[in-house]
């Protein structure tokens, strides 16, 4: 683990403000990665093993459908977190995540992070609260989108 990587981890919104030793623990599972536009960060059906902390560029969450090609469900940008399925069994990706722009992301090994969280429940709980907050926001936004707000019935 380099000092630079620890700083990058500490600078991501998911971990901002956590104590230094907690950041160091997460950074111990992390590596810095870059993706070219079009490259997959994760693919549907594959084992889910990584939490991506997006630093720059945008990532599309996609699913493919015969005849419709890749359907973009959501796009996220710098500061976002991509990949949750490493958290819970059966640890399998349900969607694709693809770089739209040149993407810089910190890849945190899911199994490593789970192991450290189990070993240090205080750290695990602190991380889970942050993860839950992001998941909740994403869920709420998804619920609103389900309303078809700007459609004929939703436009009021």
């Amino acid at each position: 683990m380099t000092k630079e990587l620890a700083q990058l981890v500490a600078g991501h919104p998911l971990l901002a403000g956590l104590p230094g030793d907690a950041v160091a623990t997460v950074a111990g599972c992390a590596r810095n990665m870059a993706f070219s536009p079009g490259a997959l960060l994760l693919a549907e059906g594959d084992p889910a093993d990584t939490l991506y902390l997006v630093r720059r560029g945008r990532v599309a969450i996609e699913v493919h459908s015969p005849g419709r090609g890749q359907i973009v469900i959501e796009t996220v940008g710098p500061g976002a977190v991509v990949g949750w399925s490493w958290l819970v069994p059966p640890y399998r990706w349900h969607f694709d995540a693809r770089a739209i722009d040149p993407v810089g992301a910190i890849a945190v090994d899911g199994a490593c992070l789970r192991q450290k969280a189990e070993a240090d429940p205080a750290l695990g709980y602190a991380l889970m609260k942050r993860v839950a907050a992001i998941l909740l926001e994403r869920l709420q936004m998804t619920r609103v989108r389900v309303l078809d707000l700007y459609g004929d019935d939703g436009a009021r």
Binding site: D152, D153, A155, R156
Partner: protein, 384 residues
């Protein structure tokens, strides 16, 4: 108005007042008996007024009774308020004819023959004051209302015989009148005979009265008037507690009482039609077969489903929400919008509600269970 200058006339004197007003060019309108109710109509003399008629009113009940005595104003209010005289149920706003690719507009003139409203009740004066704030004294005056209103000569008939539905004493709008009239009548029918104490409220009122044979009102006459009004106030038993009422309703929008009232409410809109202050209107365009376009305004009711129509459907789809809109507007948000109560205590909405919903009872019920919440309106709370 000072009672020191009050005069005394008899029924012939009232006849003369109406005649003088007619000679001055006024369209003399007053209460007449029509279709079993006291309604506004054209009057040319006392003979046209509801002489000998009395009304009996209760929630969902109005009955006119003819006793054949010589009283003229011994009834409370009928279903037709004076609103319709100044703000007719329908009003053409403009019409336009097509002329090639152009349109030529014309608007009906607002030069109306001045009205004399004879026998208006003090609560009706208060209602006109409420309507003034909406249609005349807001940012944009309605020319038709303003012309009719400003030209109107008003003869108030103070109340001696309130109905069981009346609650003007709660609203501060009766049974007597202090301002807002040209002439005020108080009917006396005691051992000394049948006369009217007349008070003058304007210069033109004085001019009209000067053309009529009258006597100075004696101290006994004035005492008679005082007793009539005191008795009327005592007989007004229905009450609406207005203390903090606006805020009470505003904080009880989820009260279970709205749904309970809606269980009975037919959303028929009768209350809004008989209300002397309900002012809502629709604007509709029509095209004649010859291509002439007409825009007409007509009375509307917040109980109509389309009243709150917003691309796709009504905002207030349930009867409960429409009843709540009506009552909270009358007693609460009217203050926010126009700086006054929207209710003057005439009681018409109580009598003319087919199922007898009584707004004083509804408001009292909410006050007695302030803070109750209907099931489903808030988590973890239940109505009490």
């Amino acid at each position: 108005m000072e009672t020191a200058d009050a005069r005394l006339i008899d029924a012939q004197g009232l006849d003369a007042v109406i005649a003088v007003l007619g000679e001055l060019g006024y369209d003399t309108r007053g209460p007449v008996v029509r279709d079993g109710a006291v309604m506004p109509g054209t009057v040319t003399g006392v003979v046209d007024l509801p002489v000998g008629y009395h009304d009996e009113q209760a929630p969902g009940h109005y009955q006119l009774e003819y006793r054949g005595d010589n009283t003229v104003f011994a009834w409370a209010v009928g279903p037709g308020s004076w609103k319709a005289e100044l703000f007719p149920p329908t009003q053409e706003l403009w019409r336009a004819t097509r002329d090639g690719g152009d349109l030529t507009f014309s608007e009906p003139d607002a030069d109306y023959r001045p009205l004399a409203l004879i026998g208006a009740r003090p609560c009706e004066l208060a209602a006109l004051d409420v309507l003034d704030r909406v249609l005349r004294d807001g940012g944009t005056p309605d020319p038709h209302y303003r012309a009719r209103r400003d030209g109107a000569f008003i003869v108030v008939a103070e109340c001696g015989v309130p109905a069981a539905t009346c609650f003007c004493t709660s609203m501060g709008t009766g049974p007597g009148a202090d301002v807002g009239f040209d002439l005020a009548l108080t009917e006396l029918d005691d051992g000394a005979g049948h006369r009217f104490v007349v008070r003058v409220g304007s210069e033109r009122g004085a001019e009209v009265l000067a053309g009529v044979s009258s006597l100075p009102a004696s101290p006994a006459n004035l005492e008679g008037r005082r007793q009539v009004l005191a008795a009327a106030a005592d007989a007004t038993t229905r009450q609406l507690s207005v203390d903090g009422l606006g805020a009470l309703l505003a904080r009880n929008l989820d009260h279970p009482r709205w749904d309970e009232a809606a269980q009975r409410c037919l959303a028929c809109g009768n209350c809004t039609l008989v209300c002397p202050t309900c002012f809502c209107s629709d604007v509709r365009d029509t095209t004649t077969l010859t291509g002439e376009i007409r825009r007409q305004r007509s009375w509307a009711s917040c109980f109509d489903l389309d009243h709150s129509y917003l691309h796709g459907g009504p905002v207030r789809a349930t009867t409960s929400s429409r009843y709540r809109q009506w009552l909270t507007h009358k007693l609460s948000t009217w203050w926010d919008q126009f700086g006054t109560s929207g209710c003057v205590g005439c009681g018409r909405c109580i009598a003319w509600c087919p199922v007898g919903i009584d707004l004083t009872e509804e408001a009292a019920a909410i006050r007695s269970t302030d803070g109750a919440v209907r099931p489903g309106a808030a988590p973890g709370r239940v109505s009490s």
